[in-house]
Symmetry: C2
Subunit: 321 residues, 2 copies
């Protein structure tokens, strides 16, 4: 993992500096919202994947604007999603809409979507804008499915997978495809890069959902058991629901639907998920997707960057925050 | 105006059919919101301008997807703006967020922004995506300025002009530039097309703001004096404020700032604006911008389409709804 760490240590500050410069030029009201979300400490996974994939395909130009376009798109969707979810925390900080209001936050999201498209258009490669548009659509559609699932929760693995593909994995796929396109990849090899990203993204979200049942607020920046209290049915809970008898599962789903899972209910569900090792079982499922990601990666010519991408895939599994 | 009318009569249904097909494929929850705003009877000015400008530059391919991308972008901004403004009516129908809720409406706006970018990317001309991104940014920034102006209203012509350029004229400029680019225009001639659109857009909004003081709800789909009651300072009101003594103007601005303009206040302001012919004076100002638009148009080679564009510029001045 030494290579991976040194790569991140080198690239993450460059991403931060670019975002710093790019957001400094935004209009007053929107600037502060954009900087609040973009300059908060984030994992910068999407931009680093774009840079790594571009280099893996031999691109020697400046991948930073496109890489940052992916981070900007991601942040724009976070701004809008946090309004929809009524979320109070983001990246360990108060969510933007709680600080700046809904109006400013909706508009800042729109400006960031446009800024990302403008950065993408700067490369004069039409497929890049097509991919960015597809990525945004998939992300919004994933969020839509998640909202529908909130009002009709079920122990439904297929719907859960569709949701995490849409709201998380597709944009990570986009990040990888964009890097490949920048490196002049054929469609076939772009598809391999995309498959790597898609499966990595699914694994990433699975681990995120496992962490929600396993860790405390200070590490993840989210309250422990937050998904449960918001009525979100994720894989650890689906496993628990599947193990319950029909009546018990039905009662819990009713409380989730009514958003009436109280602190005592939540503690009890957390205890049972932990006792049955269901967060770990979710991580095992993530490992299957990481294996698929690595298989897709093996279709690319090996080089230093593909080694680091393989390390990144492993890191997704072992991260504790 | 016969040419203009027959052009609209021919093209508007084609725009409607394309939007009908394109929105039919959207995800369930978002589809209904998108169709509510996109299939309501609209003026379709932006798409028709794109088509006319593309043909004026000799483009013989299918301009419809790009033309509709402009209408889709416009509708996406309407969805978000109506939430921000708390508007209840749009195109004579209940505003989408009052029917479908804020969550669905925010997401539908995001999906439509992405859909427009995807349609633009389909042309394989990077400048088109650059222009679309610029258009969205300018529109959002115009809305931001308008919101700031609401909390600090003044008889300030310069700020008013900046607002209408951003929230209306820039996207009309974008529609014209996109058409020109599709027709392979040089940058110089694209600029002339853009200047036509910008000035036409300013005139269009000036007339809109004049109509708000002159017409009744059934025609415009907006309540009479609605801008005033929302605390919006537009040109007819700026003229009135300029004619008032300092104390009277200050008192009215205070009531606007506090959004406490009651029905009696509003009736009195409307009466004075009408008595002093300030809506007509606003139309005269619009005529100046139409003249600039026609001057920009004269820099393009004359043809049937430039004749129709000139008619469109005149029509903006004479429309009563």
């Amino acid at each position: 993992m030494k290579d991976l760490r040194s790569y991140f240590n080198h690239e993450v500050p460059r991403v931060g500096e670019f975002l710093e410069r790019e957001t400094a030029g935004l209009d007053g009201l929107v600037r502060e919202v954009a900087r609040h979300v973009l300059l908060a400490p984030g994992k910068r996974i999407r931009p680093i994947l774009t840079i790594l994939m571009a280099r893996a395909f031999g691109y020697e130009g400046d991948a930073l604007p496109l890489a940052c376009a992916l981070e900007i798109l991601h942040s724009a969707t976070l701004l809008h999603d946090d309004i929809l979810d009524g979320a109070n925390l983001r990246r360990g900080l108060p969510a933007a809409h709680t600080v700046f209001g809904n109006t400013e936050t909706i508009l800042a999201g729109d400006v960031l979507l446009a800024l990302a498209n403008r950065l993408g258009a700067g490369y004069d490669i039409p497929r890049i804008n097509y991919l960015l548009a597809e990525g945004i659509m998939a992300t919004a559609e994933g969020e839509i499915r998640e909202i529908a699932f909130l009002s009709d929760p079920a122990a439904d693995r297929k719907t859960y997978l569709e949701i995490i593909v849409g709201k998380t994995a597709k944009l990570i796929e986009t990040a990888c495809r964009c890097g490949a396109v920048l490196g002049g990849a054929s469609r076939d090899r772009e598809d391999a890069a995309g498959e790597f990203g898609l499966n990595l993204g699914i694994a990433f979200q699975l681990v995120d959902d496992a962490l929600d049942y396993a860790e405390a607020s200070s590490d993840t920046g989210k309250p422990e058991g937050g998904d449960l209290r918001e009525g979100k049915v994720t894989l650890p809970l689906i496993y628990l629901l599947e193990a319950m008898d029909r009546a018990e599962a039905g009662a819990l789903l009713s409380r989730l639907r009514a958003k009436s899972v109280g602190p005592d209910d939540a503690r009890e569900v957390l205890r049972r998920v932990r006792e049955a090792g269901l967060a770990e079982r979710t991580r095992d499922k993530a490992a299957e997707y990481v294996a698929r990601a690595r298989q897709a990666l093996s279709r690319l010519s090996g080089c230093r960057e593909t080694d680091i991408l393989a390390q990144a895939a492993e890191f997704v599994l072992t991260r504790r925050r």
